[in-house]
Amino acid sequence: MPGSVSGLIVLFPLAGWLINGLAGGRLPARAAAMIGSASVGLAFVVSVVSILDPRVWQDGITTRLFTWIDAGEFTVEASLLMDPLSALMALLVSGVSFLIHVYSAGYMAGDPAQSRYFAYLNLFVASMLLLVLAGNLVVMFVGWELVGLCSYLLIGFWFERERAANAGRKAFVVNRIGDAGFLLGILLLAVTVNSLDFVNLSASAESIAVPVATAATLLLFVGATGKSAQLPLYVWLPDAMEGPTPVSALIHAATMVTAGVYMIARLQALFFRAEVTLSVIAAVGALTAFFAATVALVEHDLKRVLAYSTISQLGYMFLAMGVAAAPVGMFHLTTHAFFKALLFLAAGSVMHAMHDVIDMRRLGGLARPMRWTALGFLIGAAALAGFPLTSGFFSKDLILERAFAHAEGGLTLLLWIAGVLTAFVTALYITRAAILTFAPPPSHQDHPHEAPPTMTWPMAALAALALGGGILGAQAAGAPLLHALDAFFHVEESGAAKSVPALALTIVSATAALLGILAGFGLYRGRRDVSLGALGNLFRRQWFVEDLYEVVIVEPSKRLAHFLAGTVDLQIIDGTVNGVAAGFKRSSAALRRVQTGYVRNYAAVVLAGTVLLLGYWLTR
């Protein structure tokens, strides 16, 4: 019985999708929101119930639903795995999703396509839960691509807007590039290890050759850079802000984009076989964290600030994965889900009040009319900045501590330095965003109003989690989450890495955060536009990454496509074909009268020739 329980977690949102998708148009708008929220709420309840089973905490429960694919040596079971890691993700995904569904009911009220919205959102939750509960890599890949599909659909939800449609397509295509790597990694494992089952892969990781493990993990990591928006495939996430804001909160902050981190945690044993891959992950993570934070510093669009912030925070998580601190990375994934979802919901509340204005140059002074939203944003910002005792403080501090502990001097210390610098820039940019949006002077004419309770209550819940979520990993509180994860990952105390001056490191990272906040106040208090000189330009152009892609990849491939379709296909290949035909025509000038143009005549000739040949062979 408990087996089917994990199936139910996926099944409820799936049912919600079916109902809203098939009958939604005929239901009243409120019903779509109710069905959507209730189905996700049920998934959360089942998730809570399912972790009460002690077997989850021992070996995990594997549920085999049916044999999905079976050809030759290649067999894939449709199987689900419920263990501490997937339980944490299932709780997080269904819980945060539920809050955001409720919020959406308020935010999307009045949109004529609400049933479509909730259908997509439910499909997303089902796909995401499938991803985290998957028992093997192929099932995970199903969820992995389906969340990408939902992301595409929801980014382009207002598809009449060309920008939204473009952004959705860009997200899908960039993710597909990553997915191609992921798929190749799956193929490599399928053929060499002969098993894609997570339990088997973990158990047999020791016997996998290091080159194979390295190649496979690098390929899988390519998939992670796509889904989790890391360098070099991050480019789709800022554009993804074209979607409705609750979508940004749910998919592009709290859940989907963390799939890459989760995948690495899931295959921890395999990644541990590949030292090279771990170094690459740590480097990419640290670089992305710093890079994206600097861009967030100069963005004018509040949602894009948060998008770059997400990219940056995901970089921290990958840094943690790269320095072999998976429990800490998962802890940061959890706290980030709380505070970043909160920040997005607050931003959504601002858009709701300001008639979709999100450019911070046109905002300001919103703290007074929107007290609760401002308070929510402030709490989220404090957690993001790593203000002492907020949830983000604990998780980020632990990542930096582990990065320091991992360093063996020299270049590897750069990871830690990048992390501390990023902490400073993070505090700076979120302080700037908070000041520009909420501090006076007001730059609005109309009278913004506070959001309705359906929107403020979810924010309040997330605010509580963003503030207090630190106790999940705080030593003083017993660090229950970290302990559970430590046991699961078979690592020693994540909380207190030995041989590091933990207190000194904490002081360093807290100082960086506080300095960032102070610098933010110093720079932006009362000023709206602060030029950062040449550096500011570099940041504004995203270090020229997108320009580079445009020149090196996008434009040349468009030209190639037109060259192939025009010159090569029509002129060279088809020209040759028609040329051969024309050649026959010319050379048969003597037989011109045969060339009647009637196919029946040609057919007769072919037939006659056949008969002749046949006769020749038979009588020979």
């Binding site: 002969n194 192939l564 057919a603």
Partner: protein
């Protein structure tokens, strides 16, 4: 049973021929009824088919020209079963789709399509090479008329190009069939065109390569394998909707079916020898077709070029010579029929409303036809091989099978996965999304009940195969395994390659048996 399957459409055609041409709705209903009765017969065959059996089932045999060893011999195995089902499923849908778009010479049109169905079924069911060749060529004639009479402005050019190009290929095949027959006569002591007997003939090598080449050329043109594909966009663009649907969904599969049915069993040595050539051509087709699709402005040309890419996958899987590769190839033949047949149905529905195939004339259709947009999305996603749809299973199996043989091939082919997302989503956006740009929005009425009836079966198949492909895979596995065994025995090399090629590099250690690799 199989004879009934083939001759039900012929019977329908005869009845239609006898009815006065003015009785329009009746003609259409009889056409539909005949193709549906053939579908029912195929369902019965499917139900009675014994899954674990690798040999031909429902064999029917009658002497035809005994003096030459030509016989009327039909049979069905795991390799032909999926294609027979594909044919009988797609034909009623194609007929139904033409109800509003074909208004002239309905009688001849219905007869053409029914005879086409009979020809296709005969091609897939023949076990005698002469009988096969007769059906193979017989398919051309009704298709020629469908394109040439009910087609677009350049229909004559397209129809002649189609028929000459494919006949050029099959003429050589006929020569090769006769040569093989003579070889067989010498070796077996009896003169026969029976495929099951002829595959025991060991043709000496230079000759085998030549015969392989002649067969392969005929099949490759039909598929079409790059660079023999240029007849396809022209034929598709000019053909009426029903013609395009059948052409893409079933006709092209004659070529890939030929690979599995004739090339592999008759010329195993040459197959192994030339598999790299065909695999590389297939990969070029996958990438080239994908890139060229992206640059198309005509929706039908776009879908036609995407077929070149998709059938590259089918070809790649066939010449991987592994169970996964062949199974994937076979499944992908069906999948491509469903998704690309569906895409042509969608284009037809749009064309009926706008009389334009140019992307520039579309935009914002989803706002006007939301239900149509939802159905179209599912078919587009199936064509993109999104997990959960049928296309994913096929492509995954092909890639696994290819990776087992030559990892580099799979790595190169995987580019097609990215390209399909690029050109299909581009197409979807240009047609469906953005502000409304169609010239006459009022004409964009929501998809009708009849149109839905043509699409819903495809949607059901997309998800059924996507979620439970084993109902097809389990029926073809035995035949596929037997075929590969035949190839490996005849070539006497270690083939298919054991999955341990990479494992050999793994340092000795306990190899964990897993439920994934053991059944």
């Amino acid at each position: 049973m199989l004879t009934v399957l083939i001759f039900l459409p012929v019977l329908g055609a005869v009845i239609v021929a006898l009815i006065d041409r003015s009785r329009d709705p009746l003609l259409r209903w009889i056409g539909l009824g005949a193709s549906l009765s053939s579908f029912v017969a195929s369902l019965l065959t499917f139900a009675l088919f014994v899954p674990g059996e690798s040999r031909m089932q429902f064999v029917e045999r009658a002497a035809w020209v005994p003096s030459l060893g030509i016989s009327y011999q039909l049979g069905i195995d795991g390799i032909s079963l999926p294609l027979v089902m594909l044919t009988t499923v797609m034909m009623p849908l194609a007929l139904l789709s033409s109800w509003s778009s074909v208004t002239e010479r309905v009688k001849e049109f219905t007869i053409s399509l029914l005879l086409l169905e009979a020809g296709l079924l005969g091609t897939f069911l023949s076990v005698d090479l002469v009988l096969f060749y007769v059906f193979w060529e017989a398919v051309l004639i009704p298709m020629y008329f469908v394109i040439g009479l009910w087609g677009g402005p350049r229909r004559t050019y397209a129809a002649i190009k189609f028929i000459l190009y494919t006949m050029a290929g099959s003429a050589l095949m006929l020569v090769a069939i006769i040569a093989l027959y003579l070889q067989g006569g010498a070796q077996l002591g009896i003169r026969t065109f029976d495929l099951l007997r002829l595959r025991e003939v060991a043709v000496p090598m230079p000759l085998e390569a030549w015969l392989f080449g002649a067969f392969a050329l005929a099949f490759a043109i039909k598929v079409p394998v790059w660079p023999l594909h240029t007849w396809l966009p022209d034929a598709h663009v000019e053909a009426p909707t029903a013609g395009s649907v059948i052409l893409a969904a079933v006709l092209l599969k004659m070529g890939t079916y030929g690979f599995l049915r004739f090339l592999l069993p008759l010329f195993p040595q040459a197959t192994v020898q030339f598999a790299p050539v065909l695999s590389v051509l297939a990969i070029v087709g996958i990438i080239y077709g994908g890139i060229v699709s992206w640059a198309q402005r005509d929706v039908k040309r776009l879908v036609a070029m995407s077929s070149v890419s998709h059938l590259g996958f089918v070809t790649l899987g066939a010449f991987a010579l592994t169970v996964e590769g062949l199974q994937g190839s076979l499944l992908q033949m069906v999948n491509h029929g469903i998704s690309t047949g569906g895409l042509f149905l969608l284009v037809g529905i749009l064309y009926d409303r706008t009389h334009s195939r140019l992307l520039d004339d579309y935009g914002g259709v989803a706002a006007l036809m939301p239900r149509f947009a939802a159905v179209a999305l599912i078919i587009v996603l199936s064509s993109m091989a999104l997990p959960g749809t049928n296309g994913f299973i096929g492509e995954l199996l092909i890639l696994v099978g290819t990776f087992r043989r030559v990892p580099a091939y799979a790595a190169a082919a995987i580019g097609g996965v990215v390209l399909s997302a690029i050109y299909l989503l581009w197409m979807y956006q240009r047609v469906m999304q953005g502000p409304v740009r169609v010239k006459a929005p009022a004409a964009m009425v929501e998809v009708t009940r009849r149109e839905l009836v043509t699409l819903v079966p495809l949607i059901i198949l997309i998800f059924t195969i996507g979620l439970y492909p084993n109902f097809l895979l389990s029926r073809s596995e035995a035949s596929v395994r037997a075929l590969l065994r035949h190839v490996s025995v005849r070539t006497a090399v270690q083939s298919p390659m054991p999955p341990q090629k990479f494992a050999a590099r793994i340092p000795p250690g306990p190899r964990h048996p897993t439920h994934q690799s053991r059944r």
